[in-house]
Symmetry: D3
Subunit: 280 residues, 6 copies
Amino acid sequence: MERALDHLIDLAFAEDIGPGDITTESLVEPHRRGRAFILAKEDLILAGLDAVRQVFLRLDQEVRIISDFEDGEPVRKGTVICEIHGRLSALLRGERIALNFLQRLSGIATLTRTYVDRIEGEKVRLVDTRKTAPGWRTLEKYAVRMGGAFNHRMGLYDGVLIKDNHIAVAGGVGAAVQQVRDRVSHLVKIEVEAADMEQVEAALDAGADVIMLDNMSIEEMVAAVEFIAGQALVEVSGGVNLERLKDLARTGADLISCGALTHGARSVDISMRISDDSDS
Amino acid sequence: MERALDHLIDLAFAEDIGPGDITTESLVEPHRRGRAFILAKEDLILAGLDAVRQVFLRLDQEVRIISDFEDGEPVRKGTVICEIHGRLSALLRGERIALNFLQRLSGIATLTRTYVDRIEGEKVRLVDTRKTAPGWRTLEKYAVRMGGAFNHRMGLYDGVLIKDNHIAVAGGVGAAVQQVRDRVSHLVKIEVEAADMEQVEAALDAGADVIMLDNMSIEEMVAAVEFIAGQALVEVSGGVNLERLKDLARTGADLISCGALTHGARSVDISMRISDDSDS
Amino acid sequence: MERALDHLIDLAFAEDIGPGDITTESLVEPHRRGRAFILAKEDLILAGLDAVRQVFLRLDQEVRIISDFEDGEPVRKGTVICEIHGRLSALLRGERIALNFLQRLSGIATLTRTYVDRIEGEKVRLVDTRKTAPGWRTLEKYAVRMGGAFNHRMGLYDGVLIKDNHIAVAGGVGAAVQQVRDRVSHLVKIEVEAADMEQVEAALDAGADVIMLDNMSIEEMVAAVEFIAGQALVEVSGGVNLERLKDLARTGADLISCGALTHGARSVDISMRISDDSDS
Amino acid sequence: MERALDHLIDLAFAEDIGPGDITTESLVEPHRRGRAFILAKEDLILAGLDAVRQVFLRLDQEVRIISDFEDGEPVRKGTVICEIHGRLSALLRGERIALNFLQRLSGIATLTRTYVDRIEGEKVRLVDTRKTAPGWRTLEKYAVRMGGAFNHRMGLYDGVLIKDNHIAVAGGVGAAVQQVRDRVSHLVKIEVEAADMEQVEAALDAGADVIMLDNMSIEEMVAAVEFIAGQALVEVSGGVNLERLKDLARTGADLISCGALTHGARSVDISMRISDDSDS
Amino acid sequence: MERALDHLIDLAFAEDIGPGDITTESLVEPHRRGRAFILAKEDLILAGLDAVRQVFLRLDQEVRIISDFEDGEPVRKGTVICEIHGRLSALLRGERIALNFLQRLSGIATLTRTYVDRIEGEKVRLVDTRKTAPGWRTLEKYAVRMGGAFNHRMGLYDGVLIKDNHIAVAGGVGAAVQQVRDRVSHLVKIEVEAADMEQVEAALDAGADVIMLDNMSIEEMVAAVEFIAGQALVEVSGGVNLERLKDLARTGADLISCGALTHGARSVDISMRISDDSDS
Amino acid sequence: MERALDHLIDLAFAEDIGPGDITTESLVEPHRRGRAFILAKEDLILAGLDAVRQVFLRLDQEVRIISDFEDGEPVRKGTVICEIHGRLSALLRGERIALNFLQRLSGIATLTRTYVDRIEGEKVRLVDTRKTAPGWRTLEKYAVRMGGAFNHRMGLYDGVLIKDNHIAVAGGVGAAVQQVRDRVSHLVKIEVEAADMEQVEAALDAGADVIMLDNMSIEEMVAAVEFIAGQALVEVSGGVNLERLKDLARTGADLISCGALTHGARSVDISMRISDDSDS
């Protein structure tokens, strides 16, 4: 996660501070020290504390950050998430960038937890998708884990998902699975998308490790799960929302994938209060 | 916008394709050609066509993209947003990245338009904030303009906003405004945050170009606008939502700033259908 | 592969040309055109034609490269691998860099083919390791495929290999496998290293997808393969060389991993002849 | 050397760790500490200790590395090269990358030493060439020095070598040498390639500082050295191997250049043992 | 300023040290320590101490730099600007790069002070332009401030300057100002260039915040200032030199912009004396 | 030169255009075309045409640039240096950056030519130094060549210059020269700095290829040149200016090095006139 975070912090500093924070530069002497409190303004699941740390470390190598929480824990409205001691100019410059990371990542973790709670006790695994903000993949998938769900593949390089177009080009599911197996590491599983029962059968015959039931009705899914009978893992996908979640979980599928965990999340409300150390 | 977009596309390719799209590499010969249609699955305001173009150009320098729409225009559910001709392998690899850009930017433009429509006819200017996803500032602010609203400053370098902490450190509003003026270009205006009438008065005396009324009641805002009487621009901020928008507009303020335009937006539903050119 | 290649070409130009090819700049007018032939000076398996292409394209966007061969094909000593038409200055500057890529990658493919030929007809899969020159991982693994062998995981992110240290820290194989499964995508298989029969049993009980027999004798391997009996894939590793290869293949293991394919390869002999277009 | 090493470490981390070491992340708590020993598994000449240091410093800023050896020294099979104390997760993540550097650089130093020993006592200087792995030039040339040989020019920018093609284009050796002298710093010497006695004479007349005898027989070389008679340095090149080395040294040439030092080296066998600090 | 400085230091190290300082590497053991004094060889205004600090910190993280001066202060010929303690090899390698920064930036500050002194007591503001060395904008504008003058806009993104061509394309000053206002933040002022009285009038009518009088005679400027009468700020520009400065200041204009502050400055004479710590 | 130029253009676009040219974006439609003329406003020696080309190519891949001049040629005041056809928005955005390159490089070439003319007919070589603006080394040294002078070494990597401190550390000139020879390529010459006759003798005895006479009087130089008598090249350095140049040339030295060529140059006056293609 560190490299992805580093790159985004680079971009964030370039776009927000650029040639200089002209207000703070004009008003705050470099060595003046201060203190800041980051506050939850609504109930949330925390994710992104390390981003906060890295942002302020860039601006002041001696900053100290103290928190009673760890990523993945719930924080109640009105609670202090963490306390930051360092140069006042660093606090003022980094405030918005740090909050932008923390609000967005906690937003995803918080939304994910709502979904996870809905299927508590079910043995199905809720997983994310590749529908993430470009540049944010590693961070958003981390936030999903903090929310209590699981990750699907990271990208096109660490898992195989054979879709319609691939099958058409390869000349059938069997040929597609075989060609991919010859190319990829034996540690990578092969998943095949199926839109109906016929395709499920073909995928199973081709030796798919995982079969994705795409946009099927609950009844079709139940039938498919029974037919597959443990010979492959089963993922259900398409139109996943809070309302249908329980029903999807009860189809017997092993995995439910849900794009909304990342692309449907809004930032949660978090603010920062800064004070000069000479205040009392 | 080009540089910011370039950086994000770099990160997107690294995180999504990385060492290789092992599925497509195994199955699709490099020179096979195809066609794709990008479809609106809900009503939306379009933003991000250029991102789509740049993503596919990286994968196939001879790709052609044809569209009847321009950014900022409304697109109805079920409409083809654009058609793409190029290498099949490029279409398969770029699909998710291109959609991730388009869905997010159109999501912001679409949400913004809802706000803008609510205050149609009012002379107030709806503006965004710095509450954007790190790395996405330039793109999100572009999407806000496509949605019909206006931009506040891009970052800490192209506008001055003097807040509580700055004033405390400088020893008063008057001193703060003066010190900043000496440091910044004569083309940059100075805005001062005020939480009550006393601070409004002080800001006005200090020669602020713009005064931000932060978290005031509608009545206080009306009083402040009257008091300022055109000697400075007036921005209202804090707790801005669709319900209060009309009332805020009628306070007589020149600007309403709203963080939700960017950090409260979700991606809109857009999909892509790919077909092999040998299909018929 | 493109990104890794791009980065290495960047470094190669910086280190070889740097501030300028002072010889060519002094002597060759920019627009003079020439022709070059790349020649195999020994029998080899070709790998790296695209690197040659990219190197010269950086120096002359209109260069043309013509070849009767594709990567993975055998080329006999004395044969012209490809012909290059372009600016004479580009040919002179790019010669050494292009050859350095081609000789090294073809060296790996050629050595790999020797190994692959030795176990022709056996159903075992010969795979590489992570013992590659830093910066060259993607390219060297590509050359291994061109040589006819297969790839193990690309890095620490697209496959799990649980070793001694991991097991000790986690408190047993069972705990280790379970903790990893909760963290990684369902598309990633889990391999466990085992040094003796007891560890093989533990790995099997823990539900390992693949078991690596590390530095066992042929007899132990045969016993382990029988014991595992298809419930997991079996990889043999350690001390793999041309002499033992056939015996290892006949243990019934599914995979033989061999670091020497990459770290034991030397560059093959390839040269380039350049001529001025005005020559005849 | 630092910059080149930094770039390769960047690439190595990206290709080997990428979005994360999913095994170690799942199993090893960040603050657990450990110890590692790097062991020579064969006799070798050491090169690359600093690369080991830099790799682990990236993963743990407080790592300590203790060694009884310095680069350039011989290490016997079975000896501990160095001991490393730091975070267990850093040791596990950095192991392969650190070894890949150390094995390759020590491999070059070790091979080079074999060559150097063969001509001990002769006053000729054994030098490397530009036949290095792209991206590795500075490091490989450093390893050659650690092996006891000398460096030829680093690249096309810090030395002039006029070849056939250059001479043809410039219209003769004399013209070529003159044009280059006018362009380059007075601190750069000019070397001219000669394939026969006639060309040797021409090079000498043209005022070459160094003359390279390319692919000549031992007899021709002896004759050329006599003819040149100290008016220029003499380098012999082409078909240099261990067998011919002594004879080449006795031609009286000042320099023998040998591509095999870098492109013919294989990695030497070095391994790493890691243990948890709570072990005893 | 930090980011711009970081980039230039990167380039400076690459171009000056590149693959290595072959002289120092050959002669100075890495751990030998030394001391250096940086000396003013002529009277100057200091600018660039931080660049000196950053250059040496890259080469030796424990370097200590002691100075009695701060940027912006005058230093007399023969005075020690600062003292540097650290590794001898770092002092030798960094000397030229550090001086190149310090001489150039102090050169700009020194020249600027000459201009500023000439208009002491006048209330006009002397400002710089965008005529800076590519890559050096932020640093050169910083040096201008150290010299006692003020900055115009940093670039094309933080201020609007509407020129002839813009007006022609937009179809008149009024239209141009309006279109720009709709695009830019309310914190950005709009300046319009005017070459004669008619254009001054048009700019004023269009609501320009600032009017630039371009290449007018002193008399015309006086007339224009009177006409504008405080309704917009007035900048005079074109042919500004030391001789005319006083007269320009007395036109009543608010700002005088002068490209020569940056593009007409020469480096001031500063040298460095290094000594080995074992010297006495 | 291309890489250095590329880097500076990157920085120039970032610092001057950054998130956008808000004026041009607001006013000029992307496809509108225009024409520009670059004009010499004083007599000059041209250098930097390629920088102009690269700047505009970044903004408009189809731009056409036509010129009657080549770098190194004199251009009279009032002459059109080149004509540019392309998108109007590209011309407006690139104008300042292109001119900043052209004015600075032509400034160096022009100043250099003045020096070169002063010693016309003398056989001494006028060379530059490492006193260049950080980031600009390759470009400034190119401009010096265009002005008719020669280059000293590019940096610390392509030539050896042994100074006082080096000699002290190494324990004498002889030891210093020997240690360096063992480290560097045989194509690199060794220059030794000498402040008096004693040091000249020592340098000669040590086998220096070049001896630099540092800050000597004309008489001392003449004596030193006679003493050296062609056994080494002689460079004179220190206090070189137009007045002393002729006398320095007549000392019989081979080289005169002069820092002022680069660090004492000011930008020459060049402007650009842009017109819309629909103008007539």
